[in-house]
């Protein structure tokens, strides 16, 4: 199973094995990784699973669609490398992916 590393805003790191086909958001929520709220449950409708993807991995995570871009547009601390974790599907190609949490999910 691919390993995803989630780094909380305070620096705490969680390396988790996540099943292929789940989203990066589900990998966090199912394993009680704090810092991802996912209020809408993965519908790309709330921007509370906002993460920063390490540059080395950004291209491999694909491109956000229009809906994701518009939700990210309303996230308080969005940057160039922001993604919604519910829109990234875990595959073998993402083994080793590192995502960092923002200060808060707004």
């Amino acid at each position: 199973m691919p390993t995803i590393t989630y780094i909380e805003f305070n620096g705490t790191s969680h390396s988790i094995e996540v099943e292929n086909g789940l989203s990066v958001m589900e990998g966090a929520v199912n394993n009680n990784v704090p810092g991802i709220d996912a209020d809408c449950g993965g519908s790309c409708a709330c921007a509370t699973c906002h993460v920063f993807v390490d540059d080395a991995w950004l291209a491999r995570c694909g491109t956000p669609d229009t809906q994701e871009k518009s939700m990210l547009g309303f996230a308080a601390t969005a940057q160039e490398n922001s993604r919604l974790a519910c829109q990234i599907t875990v595959t073998d190609a993402l083994d080793g992916l590192v995502v960092r949490m923002p200060e808060a999910q707004h």
Partner: protein, 417 residues
């Protein structure tokens, strides 16, 4: 009191012909009797058309959580635009409609929303936290013991009004005007309250605009600062608004920052009283306060619905919605949808996924101030738990005559001596 949903099969809600069901009837909300009708529709006609006998004209009701999510995300088909009638089931007369960003579609909506959004960014919330705590402490410490008083008047209104004054940096001594204007914006004429006619409402809006125009004129020539008036006056997407558009956005921010939190502050007290075991659970473990706050917001659903207008024909839940039709998303119903929320009619302070409720809406119109609302409620409950053994509800709450704002005009309570 707040009777559980009436599942008595003989109750009118379950026996009346489906096409007669009119879930937006505000009299039922005032009587606290609205839930069974939505439960009936969820079961028998989850996408339902009220063709006749409604005071709001014909409208669709979308009652299930997942169908509502579909409507929320499809802003092309389901427009929020004020030009179509906006975001509540009631259409204001055409010539009196008011533009505001909640009642706009992309891209203008997005640009205007982004101007005010930083007011609730993490940095600003941290700044507000100490202020909210100080005010909450002050209000709670001033409450009488051993005598009945109105929680809405003594707690919910003062706390939310003070918050609003800070967000606008509004002259503090005049802050009662903010809650007055908020009430005037949402109060139906038929409620027999302060607002006697649409002309009267326009007159009050004129007073609101005049007051806020003065503040705009002061701040537009000063350096930008973090209050909503200054942000609107300096924002690229808002600095050239028409006066009517400024008025609209002010109404939006006043109502959005006021009525909703106010009613959740009152609702929470009522629900804890009705569910003593849940209150005991929270008292024994104050760490549950975050989760309890989300549950209060779900259970109250302070805005019972949001409305869209179809811009083209669309099939939803097997029903044919036509271009131009009014589509009401019943948040109040989705929050009681057992297909998504376990045991939805129960008030449970430690739910597994307390944040999945739909009270803030989803998609691009999701409530801007949701985190601030949660923060205010969290501090209120932390301070309540630290002070009072209980808050006893002494009689029936008086509910408001509206199927949009679901709230309380008064709630008699007593804090044991």
């Amino acid at each position: 009191m707040n009777a559980p949903v009436n599942y008595d099969p003989a109750h009118e809600a379950w026996t009346m012909p489906l096409d007669r069901v009119d879930p937006a009837n505000p009299a039922r909300f005032m009587a606290g009797a609205e839930l069974p009708y939505l439960a009936r529709l969820r079961r028998d006609a989850p996408v339902h058309y009220t063709a006749e006998n409604s005071m709001f004209g014909p409208y669709w009701s979308v009652c299930r959580y997942n169908d509502i999510m579909q409507v929320e995300l499809n802003t092309e088909v389901f427009s929020s635009s004020w030009a179509h009638g906006g975001i509540s089931v009631r259409d204001r007369p055409k010539e009196l409609r008011i533009p505001m960003f909640i009642a706009m579609d992309p891209p203008v909506h997005d640009d205007q929303r982004k101007v005010v959004q930083p007011i609730v960014a993490p940095f600003n919330l941290q700044k507000f936290e100490a202020l909210i705590r100080e005010r909450t402490t002050m209000v709670l410490d001033s409450l009488p013991r051993g005598e009945t008083f109105d929680w809405v008047e003594k707690v919910s209104i003062p706390l939310t009004t003070m918050m609003l004054a800070s967000l606008f940096d509004f002259p503090f001594e005049d802050r009662h005007l903010l809650s007055h204007w908020s009430d005037c914006s949402t109060m139906p004429v038929e409620a027999n309250g302060f607002i006697k006619s649409e002309e009267h409402r326009e007159q009050v809006f004129g007073e609101l605009l005049a007051y806020f125009t003065k503040l705009w004129n002061e701040r537009v020539n000063e350096p930008p600062r973090p209050d909503l008036v200054s942000m609107l006056a300096h924002g690229e997407a808002t600095k050239n608004m028409t006066p009517r558009e400024y008025l609209g956005n002010l109404i939006l921010l006043i109502v959005g920052g006021n009525d909703t939190t106010r009613n959740s502050m009152s609702g929470g007290v009522l629900f804890m009283h009705q569910n003593p075991a849940e209150f005991a659970k929270l008292k024994a473990n104050p760490k549950l306060v975050d989760s309890a706050v989300s549950e209060i917001i779900r259970y109250q659903t302070p805005l019972a619905h949001m409305r869209r207008t179809a811009t083209q024909d669309y099939e939803l839940g097997g029903q044919q919605i036509k271009a131009g039709d009014k589509v009401v998303m019943w948040y109040l119903s989705a929050n009681r949808d057992g297909a998504v929320i376990e045991d939805p009619d129960a008030f449970i302070v430690d739910r597994k996924r307390p944040r999945q409720h739909i009270s803030f809406g989803f998609g691009i119109h999701r409530c801007v101030g949701n985190r601030l609302a949660e923060l205010q409620l969290k501090i209120l409950w932390e301070q309540l738990l630290a002070r009072f053994p209980s808050i006893e509800v002494m009689g029936e709450p008086k509910r408001v005559f509206s199927s949009f704002v679901r709230g309380y005009a008064s709630l008699p309570v007593r804090i044991p001596a």
